[in-house]
């Protein structure tokens, strides 16, 4: 049986790990190579690196970061941030990413998903969606790091993206990001009802109970950042708690 994955997420800006609340008020959270290596040792199933640099110079670090992290990592690595075309994706893959995540660029030009899936395969093509609740039980896509609300319905967008070739959805609740108030379970269930590709739940994790609830709601993997970066818990402790509560994870 396939085990649900626990995935630490490193938001990287200008080569350093950062973390904020609802994508704002970023604070430093260390060196990406040391972070990734430590989480691997704790039992992480995969690492996600999202480059959130505001400038092209900052984004240039993403390839270097990927190269360095790859050397120490014997688990899968997904990298996103600033990918606008096949060439950007190829640079990250050649540097050592196993999957590439796209967000704003795919909203602006959905054909990007088909291009990436056609060239590198769906299993390599991750669509990151930042979702904000627009009315009870409805969500809209937000882009540009949360600064722009698009009015695009999240369920419609992920369904289209999966048809175009997205092999996995990294689903972040903008409302819950960094708040530690639990994942948006209704959002996860809504997306799980429209796609059959894997869903990584993101935004709001505080404890193992939250991870369990997201998996029960339809996620196949759970992303965590703040609780790990702040040292409040470890991947190992979260997995022990999940195992104790009957969720079969990779030990």
């Amino acid at each position: 049986m396939l085990a649900p994955r626990l995935i630490p997420c490193l938001d990287v800006k200008d080569g350093r790990v950062v973390k904020g609340v609802r994508f704002q008020d970023l604070r430093d959270a260390g060196d990406p190579v040391l972070r990734a290596s430590a989480y691997q040792d704790q039992g992480a199933d995969e690492i996600v690196i999202l480059d959130v640099s505001a400038t092209p110079e900052g984004r240039g670090h993403a390839v270097d970061t990927t190269l360095m992290v790859r050397q120490v990592l014997s688990i899968p690595l997904t990298v996103g941030g600033g990918v606008r075309g096949v060439d950007d994706a190829r640079s990250l893959l050649e540097a050592g990413a196993d999957k590439v995540s796209v967000n704003t660029a795919a909203v602006k030009r959905p054909a990007l998903l088909a291009e990436l899936a056609g060239r590198f395969g769906s299993q390599c093509t991750v669509l990151a969606v930042d979702a904000a609740e627009s009315s009870p039980g409805r969500w809209e896509v937000v882009v540009n790091g949360g600064r722009t609300r698009t009015g695009i319905d999240v369920e419609a967008w992920v369904a289209e993206a999966a048809l175009l070739g997205a092999g996995e959805i990294l689903l972040t609740s903008w409302d819950r990001d960094g708040t530690r108030s639990g994942y948006d379970l209704d959002l996860i269930a809504a997306v799980a009802s429209v796609v059959t590709v894997p869903i990584i739940a993101s935004g709001g994790a505080d404890n193992a109970g939250h991870l369990h609830d997201a998996l029960a709601a339809g996620a196949t993997a759970v992303l965590a950042a703040s609780i790990l970066h702040d040292g409040d818990t470890t991947v190992g402790s979260l997995k022990d708690e999940l195992l104790a509560n009957g969720t079969r994870v990779r030990p």
Binding site: L2, A3, R5, E46, S74, L93, E94, A97, Q123, P198
Partner: protein, 203 residues
């Protein structure tokens, strides 16, 4: 002393993770440049992500099909990973009409529709008794297609995802894995190391 490990550039494969995994166990990979190199390299890695047809097309464009078949028939140490394992088969539902290497009798089929596809994540590998390289453990998979049976002359490891499938096969010095040993943590590194050094499990 390190042995020569040559990797087949299938065009669609992401080589960086495979190269990094071998570097961690002390070996640098080099890319194959000729049929002769493929036929006679000390160790050969056939990696692959992406589509069956694209990878076979690439192999045929370079005229490498016969060299691959020959080295496997001759029992030279060969490691096939993910799509690489599928390429060993006769054909795949992914690319109807395209001929694989045909070293393994069988057709690669798509995972059942009711499952989450692709299978992305860690699953348990259960080797058959008498396995040379494989130990039971957790491996990382990223696949939409798989093989469900192989002829009896292959030692076969199995994994369950909506039913049992063939997660690895072994015969002599050949090891083919549906999973990614290069992304399967310490368990995967140890497997690569055993294959590289031709060492048996529990030797």
């Amino acid at each position: 002393m390190s042995v020569e490990v040559v990797v087949v550039p299938t065009g669609t494969a992401n080589m960086a993770s495979v190269a990094a995994a071998f570097r961690r166990i002390g070996t640098e990979l080099s890319e194959a440049r000729s049929s002769e190199e493929i036929r006679s390299a000390d160790r050969l890695v056939l990696p692959g992500v992406g589509a069956f047809a694209a990878a076979m097309e690439r192999i045929d464009e370079r005229g490498w099909r016969q060299a691959l078949v020959d080295r496997i028939d001759e029992g030279r140490p060969t490691l096939a990973i993910c799509l690489g394992m599928q390429l060993l088969c006769e054909k795949s539902e992914e690319s109807p009409g395209v001929l694989g290497l045909g070293v393994v009798s069988g057709t690669v089929t798509r995972l059942p529709e009711h499952l989450t596809v692709p299978q992305l994540g860690w699953n348990q590998v259960m080797p058959a008794p008498g396995s040379r390289f494989l130990m039971p453990g957790w491996a990382y998979f990223a696949n939409s297609y798989r093989l469900t049976s192989v002829p009896d002359d292959w030692t076969c490891a199995r994994t369950s995802y909506g039913g049992s499938f063939v997660s690895a096969i072994e015969r002599g010095n050949l090891l083919a894995c549906q999973f990614h040993p290069e992304l399967s943590g310490d368990w995967g590194s140890e497997l690569l190391s055993r294959w590289l050094n031709g060492k048996r499990v529990r030797s």
